[in-house]
Assembly symmetry: C2
Homo-oligomer: 427 residues x 2
């Protein structure tokens, strides 16, 4: 194996990409907003002008995927059409319109010795994005990194490689038009998996953070092997707890939305907890509404007693991310058992309580240790756009630096600027 020179070639290639990214990051960190926005808008224009070539590239990827017998859902994620390309272009323009986080003064104060302190936002540096076969991530993630002054190293799925290359060419055209370094957003030009390994090792200190975008196996591998910080969540095992203090009409709407609006997103509720002290109609109304919405309900004994269509929940249905029209339901002894259940089975992503009892809500908010805790609303609001962040590169369940939706602000760090007038420090 030592004789095989492909790994060495890949390592050399990736090391060069890392160095180029670091050099570009230094330029991007001090690039003015108008220049970054000009690049984003020019990339959107280039994308609109390149619809035929992007579609032609996508057709190659689609053909390979069909020949490989990929399922329809995979093909759908991979497929581009004029409407989807337009959406990608609009997405870039929307990123251009976001406020530039770089240079924002996050805090300022003056000490008694008249030293003035500022905490100023600066980019993180170089961000590595490892994603599966959604070609739009090439533009979305690259655009968010650029806006926040970071260089991006994109490693897309091999099955969308032609599409990603075509989209990347448009982004490079945008960078060139704005006279920004082309290495600001690089696409790894090989589908060799060894390139991913090199990125996870951090390219000799030239990657500051890795963002994986894809399924659980990709995220799990990245979290396990990365030697640099990772912004991600492995699973979104979201709970909604309906307390005795809930408005049941409201709760029925919210629970059905939390589960069924989109079942494949990380903010979808996977487990419904119902207070056993709630009025007797709560559980049947919730279960019936879910069943009628087309959801499979897997419940404990009290839940099964509600409706013959309820299946018995297996122990591992709790703490399971279905990403489908299936929900686990359990009756719990009030808010404290709900909190304990979430601590045991949750994934610290997004958990909700429905109650109009303020004390109970505050108890839940205080004790549930999740990135997002929701009171009286749907867990499906777990999304950077809904938070007002404009766009997100993902949602993090990590405790360090970025937690919850990761938007342009979360792609920055800060430095302290201390301004004086000749102050010296007394002994």
């Amino acid at each position: 194996m030592q004789q095989k020179n492909t790994p060495t070639d890949i390592d050399t290639l990736m090391a060069g990409i890392g160095r180029a990214a670091r050099a570009a990051a230094a330029e991007l960190a001090v690039a003015p907003s108008y220049q970054k926005d000009a690049a984003l808008n020019a990339a959107a224009r280039a994308l609109r002008e390149s619809v035929p070539s992007v579609l032609a590239a996508n057709a190659k990827d689609l053909e390979s995927a069909r020949n490989a017998g990929r399922p329809a859902s995979f093909i759908d994620r991979l497929a581009l059409d004029e409407k989807r390309i337009e959406a990608i272009a609009v997405g870039l323009e929307e990123i251009a319109r976001l406020d530039d986080p770089v240079g924002q003064v996050m805090a300022e104060w003056t000490r008694p010795n008249k030293l003035r302190f500022e905490r100023v936002r600066v980019p993180l540096g170089v961000i590595g994005i490892i994603y599966e076969s959604r070609p739009n991530v090439t533009a979305d993630a690259g655009g968010l990194c650029l806006k926040s002054g970071n260089a991006a190293i994109l490693r897309g799925g091999s099955e969308s490689h032609h599409s990603s290359r075509a989209i990347h060419a448009c982004i490079v055209a945008g960078l060139r038009a704005a006279q920004l370094p082309e290495a600001a957003i690089q696409l790894v030009p090989t589908t060799d998996r060894e390139a991913v390994g090199a990125m996870l090792r951090g390219l000799d200190g030239n990657i500051d953070v890795i963002v994986p975008r894809g399924g659980k196996s990709l995220v799990g591998r990245v979290q396990e092997e990365a030697r640099v910080p990772v912004f991600a969540h492995l699973e979104g095992i979201c709970h909604t707890y309906v307390d005795r203090g809930a408005d049941i009409d409201e709760a029925v709407c919210v629970v059905v939305n939390a589960k069924m609006r989109r079942t494949g997103v990380c903010g979808a509720t996977e487990c419904l907890l119902v207070d056993q002290g709630a009025p007797a109609d709560f559980l049947p109304r919730l279960v019936t509404a879910l069943l009628e919405a087309g959801c499979e309900v897997r419940g404990d004994e009290p839940t099964q007693a509600v409706d013959a269509r309820v299946k018995a929940a297996a122990p591992d249905d709790y703490g399971h991310e279905f990403l489908d029209a299936i929900i686990a339901v359990k009756v719990v002894d009030g808010v404290d058992e709900a909190i304990a259940h979430i601590a045991r089975y949750g994934s610290q992503h997004t958990d909700a309580i429905l109650t109009w009892c303020t004390g109970t809500a505050e108890r839940f908010v205080k004790h549930v240790d999740s990135a997002i805790v929701v009171v009286n609303a749907s867990t499906q609001f777990a999304d950077g756009g809904e938070f007002g962040f404009g766009a997100e590169i993902g949602i993090s369940t990590g405790r360090m630096h970025a937690r919850g939706p990761v938007g342009v602000e979360q792609l920055t760090t800060f430095k302290y600027v201390v301004r004086g007038a000749g102050q010296v420090r007394p002994v």
Copy 2:
């Protein structure tokens, strides 16, 4: 080696410490401020009441250190007396008086759909502190972790073990008096180095961050081997650049202070850069003042021409952390060469410019990528206390989460609390 059961014993011991810390962290995270402050104040009282036993324990450590032929500086760091114990007790009381960061609302906003968002500070979780033979760190670091709602696992140097145990006993007495879990601040009861390895591996996910306190070799090992985030700086290679726009009287005072106030601290200036476009008296006045203050000056050719006492700088004197009364001096071609020198030789800790030309100062602030950038003041202000943070557990040159002085705020993360009135997310 597999037969030797000591490592297994240590692993079992450390795993138990990790689990106990995690359980304690859950209680601390929701403990009210008054309870944490009561523990800190009770620990201070216990320390004052235990002066004889702490001194007796310290005497054992001192005897071993003297027998081992440790240098005077080591003995001095290790030695306690009544005054130093009183200072530790006062330090705990000062931490008690700091504002509690936990529960602070860092940001709040409302979206058009009337969902209200709050970003609320919460503790990081469990903090591992690995330190050398300064027994006071036991109280300082433990106290900062407690105040910020984190559990602490303290692993002190073997040579201060008796002293640390005696101080730790007082802290536990404080926790007990306030009815907080004793495992909130644990001291690793063994001096086996394998315990450090176990901490660096994260104790099965039961350590969220490691803070090393000690010399470069300790910090380097921790940064290299830790599988969890580390808050630290390896070196403080701080620069002061004197621009042509400086007030030379002010610059002389600031440079002497930046180098000589304390030469052993991480914020001490190690390299002076002087603008070649500055008036002819700048360089001689700066060099003479340093020499007269007792500093050895190692300079480039123009600097050597100033005074016969100036030694020739070797290439590796630039980028060297002397931690002593020695300074490297170089004449540079204006602010841009100063920025380039700092990018090449600095450690992204603290770097200063002295100038009254605003444009030059802003150029330096923008382009120098250090945790702390100082204008017209001494680099020795790099200190959490001087920043107004009350106390610090260290200074971080990392880009993620904590950068610059790490005080109680930096020992927290946040969660989002989203409050609604039955909102569901439209498709």
